[in-house]
Symmetry: D2
Subunit: 406 residues, 4 copies
């Protein structure tokens, strides 16, 4: 049936002046990393519901991630979290990944689960704790070099719960000092992606609370520092695609942590709520991919796409597959926007026509397109169905309950 649908789809898009070969090429080459910690148990402060079959160590996490890559073909990277994924020999972990058809991706330092970080890590008023935190950052740079990863994703839980608890401005300086040291340890082809978050776990102030604070820090540090946008880390109502366009224009958009939210940092699977917002984000990216400014184009091409979500209730591997295909679906739709048509309407200041030129692309059913793209890539046309039909989900149940968690 896909054939008939695709034939019609192709005809339709050609009539619209869409270069489907280019669209398909882009869909084949996007890469979205999955997070090793997304395969382990997770929950809320109220309860972690353990699932059967959850991986028990970093090696099993990579095996699970390899299933996602096997079925989608666009998630070959696996982000790791240190110390959750700490192993004695990272070359072994790297080799394990490669044997399973994936590679180790962004390295994520963890500066929030040690008792000493109760009042901050790189912002702690105690210089010994800042030293320890910085050493951990440097250790992660080393691990990245060992495993061949070019990105370090930095999220800091640092903040305060009460007015007066700490000196906001001093903390800002301390963080800069620690990050400078880390920055200097990076190779020329490495980069640090600086994440920000509106709140949680800090409930009064968060040291890096918004894109502006991450961006300013990145600017001070230098060109190897960029901003990481987690789609769940903003105040309600924030126009995320505006921030994305802004950072692209400043050539400082490092990457994404995709996930969905309705309220706070709910970490639901990507694309499950408000898919139009994700489409509009990709619209800004696609528009930048074709920008006249080579620097903007270059930034758009180098975005590190990553998932960062929890599957508290749903099965882990299928949820990850759904996220990948959701992101792919919304990217495909954004690629169907006729940018010339949009621009012409914008020039005429015809609001309805300009809006519609964007919106109509969202309405297409891109399933036939994605099936064909996947077949061309040699992965299942329906990744989810193929995974569910495989015996992998059954096989891992023997791991039992009580696997890795964060």
């Amino acid at each position: 049936m896909a054939d008939k649908h695709y034939v019609l789809f192709e005809e339709q898009q050609k009539d619209r002046g869409i270069n489907l070969d280019e669209v398909k090429e882009k869909l084949r080459t996007i890469k979205i990393e999955t997070p090793s910690w997304g395969y382990g148990d997770s929950g809320t402060r109220f309860k972690v519901f353990q699932q059967e079959g959850v991986p028990r160590d970093p090696f099993e996490k990579i095996e699970d991630a390899a299933q996602v890559q096997k079925h989608t073909g666009i998630s070959p990277g696996v982000a790791i979290h240190i110390p959750w994924d700490y192993v004695d020999d990272f070359t072994k972990l790297k080799a394990h990944a490669e044997q399973h058809g994936v590679h180790l991706g962004a390295v994520n330092p963890n500066l929030f689960q040690d008792d000493e970080y109760k009042f901050g890590s790189v912002t702690n008023s105690d210089p010994d704790i800042r030293r320890k935190a910085t050493d951990h950052l440097l250790e992660c740079v080393d691990i990245a070099k060992t495993v061949g990863s070019k990105e370090l994703s930095l999220w800091f839980a640092d903040g305060t719960n009460y007015p007066g608890q700490a000196d906001i401005r001093k903390r800002k300086h301390w963080m800069y000092e620690c990050l400078s040291e880390m920055y200097n340890a990076l190779d020329e082809d490495m980069r640090m992606l600086i994440e920000y978050k509106f709140f949680e776990p800090a409930f009064y102030h968060t040291d890096l609370a918004d894109w502006g604070m991450s961006y300013n820090m990145a600017q001070k540090l230098g060109p190897k520092a960029e901003v990481l946008v987690d789609t769940g880390h903003h105040p309600q109502g924030t126009n995320i695609e505006h921030i994305v366009a802004y950072l692209l224009d400043e050539k400082r958009l490092g990457g994404f942590h995709f996930n969905s939210r309705k309220y706070a940092d709910d970490d639901l699977f990507a694309g499950s709520l408000n898919p139009y917002e994700l489409f509009l984000t990709f619209y800004q990216i696609v528009s930048a991919l074709y920008d006249e400014d080579a620097g903007v184009q270059k930034n758009a091409k180098s975005i590190a796409y990553m998932l960062d979500q929890c599957h508290n209730l749903e099965a882990k591997i299928p949820a990850m597959i759904r996220s990948i295909t959701n992101v792919q679906t919304l990217y495909a739709k954004a690629l169907l926007i006729n940018l010339d048509e949009v621009q012409q309407a914008q020039e005429k200041q015809d609001v309805l026509a300009a809006e519609h030129a964007v919106r109509k692309a969202f309405e297409f059913d891109v399933t036939p397109l994605l099936r064909v793209v996947r077949e061309e890539m040699g992965v299942p046309a329906d990744p989810m169905a193929a995974y569910l039909e495989s015996e992998y989900g059954e096989k891992i149940l023997k791991r039992g309950k009580g696997g890795a968690s964060w």
Copy 2:
């Protein structure tokens, strides 16, 4: 020094036509329960930082709570959470409380930490799980009868994370069925306080999401069911005091879970952020205490005041004392509002005068008043200082780390 300050304060308030004796009487008789679980370790989904000296069992929790009562004199009740505070012999726990000068307060069933409640408790599509949940509710009614508590505080984590996950309307009916059974088990002088919450741990829909859903449930159940307002459970911007006034007018305001928040359900200690909001809440209550409608007055007098907060970073007992004194402070200020003055300005539709008649009461420093009230009650004039000077905080350190948590 307190004397001179109080003399001036007294003079000032008498000039304003405030009946200080009545104010003092109200300040002496308000009772604010502390939650047993507020003495244990707590944290966020990212980390629970354990504290030294945390109570290891329900008996030690009560001892800690007794310290708060000893120093404040207005927190003689200790709310308990089942099964966190489950003991083989509740009469023993009750006696222990009484020996320490406190009593067991509201009984809080827990329907969110058993694996079976992953997809809901009283709203679960599986009738066996609903049965189990209802039995737990009934068990809690029994415990309440045993310990002599007249209130059951009901918070349900029930909800869904994704559109389509469950049938919203069916769940509504199932919840009603379970609660009806519980309602029928209550003695005539008992009541169930039905809490609502905007979100968390459910991230798509929460079965009791707002006051309207709790209120409607209470109405269907009957007069022994009332609404419990947790000050951290609303969307941003919600006018909580309006809801309080509304429920008082409907004679269905059961009680409060006090705590502070800036973002979501942050559970910071009461009064620490936006104290004016808490003052305005008490303004509505004070106004109801003097209402012409006897039913409204009666409701205002029967409000169950309770704290429900976490002390993730700060010491437990002092945080509880601060909360109690913060609530007391803001209640005291609200009692200094000259309601006649407010009413006269309202009748003239003089916005600035009416607003000012309320606001000016907030500006008074009520420290001298509270010192005198405490002295009259035989508790320390400065509860926090007195506690910190006591050796209790030191003494309990020998409990070590790893005490009770939720």
Copy 3:
């Protein structure tokens, strides 16, 4: 081209077990009223940008609305606002509507633009002003009887800007008194739809601030009173579809005011932002249409669908057409949900399958279906294109600038 697409679409849906005849029947029979005031000039507090061609009186507004009906076939009703649409002879206005193929719909009293309503209308502490407001409500009931309208849509701007400004509880009683009088004037087959709003123009408290307050008022008044949900009148993050499901279950969902928003009550055209939310709202409605409970079904069938939006920047008539087709599109998608499939997954508590059973319907491109439905109805397959090709938009320019506004 539509043919080939529709053939494939039909085949696809039949394979899924969807009864397309029933879907089409529902799409033909839904009616969405447009608001007369949506054709006039509108703006923000900062500026009203006047458009050329805006209707100059109620008769011209109806002519414009008739264009929307002519091109969409599902918007035969035109809601009116009194006194904006006040005419000496309403039978003449009614006849005018009928001559243009439309009819007068919901009557909307206006209680916020007279100087006397500065401090409230039905909640004003001045009984004369309440009398005046009530008389206006009664006048609107009369107008509704005259023009044959069965619905009165009630939105009150009543509220306060400052704490203490007014007595919240008294205002609640005054409103009830006024609305009771209006309620008693309704014929048996008439109904009043009570709207609520989170804030604006009141900035401290709004007398009917949420669905719970409207619902409680409706309950007190009686069965002819129902709740009106304006999609822009909620706090950020509110799960609107939950409220819709809740009201359907209580058989008190009166109708909708559709529009889009990202921040507050932005009044953008329906479906332009977060279309998935509107789809999920229709999912709840479709589910109720097939409910076992006859009362729920009946409520779902009697929902009054209305638009209430401003077109500050875009052309009025085309914006209205876009809104109608957007609503139609999202309703069509919701009708493609296989409710059995959803239910089966829900019963298995298979979160991913249940979510997907809903979501997949959203992914279909329903353009071919809507083209066919429209052709069957005798309206243009592409309403917007047809309107733009007509000369109507050109013709009305001779009205010039400075037409009706609100």
Copy 4:
């Protein structure tokens, strides 16, 4: 009575180690500009309720502003809005101000009320409109030079209502070009204060949506460009004092537009809602006033304090006086924070003690202090009472209704 109270207050603060002379000096020297447009009629998009006695031209606005200065002594500047305050001869307006004991303050260009700005001013895709907008900015620079004002406050309504409506990145560049031209026209001792706003009147994207965008623009432009913080222009939950501390640390905090809000940009009078937030903002400023870094100190000393609020329901002049005294009150309280005590608790990471060291200052009643400060300044001890007792409010009624509005 003030005496006795002040004697006790003085004793109390000296015991705490507070240097009251310094506090009083700071309270005498703070200056808070009032906005000329705050004396005219204002309202919401639903209705402007006209008041009697509203000034009919810029000269009368200045006379009204002079009343605020006369009674408070700390509001000698009057911000003007062009073209609302456009007069043929600005030297005459300047002289008029001086005759009334005030001076003209920040000049505010208006780029949102001309029909041509419907789709943007400095971001409009039409170069002629950008030219016109830039010319207006340059004209305002000239006016500022003429009247001797050193500040230009820039708020842009520029934004879009729908996705795709305009090219976000191009608009960013256009705005920079226009502002550069303006920047170059500034004298060395002048500065431009760049305001940002979350939303309204734009409902999809606002070109300067947050502090980060204003700050980045200021950085690109040069040292004469700084950020203007309007307290009503943030998403819900935003920690404004954090942004203030951040900008002070970057030495880019230009000034404030004070007002209160519960929901959106409600523009209620300053300090009327959440006074603690304003206190905490002043805490950050006071802390910066004593910073070791001379640049931070200098920034803290050069902050331009301004009101920007609407008085839709309340009388204009008294509302302005209340705002000034509210700001003064909260600044006074912040000056009572013992910064050494805070710092010592912070160094010990004693959360409760640090929080309390800040909070306790908020609890003092500073009325006696302010009475004394005012007496020393030769202004009424109770500015509001003095104004109300004056005949000014009565006198201006003869202006009638229908004065200036914005």
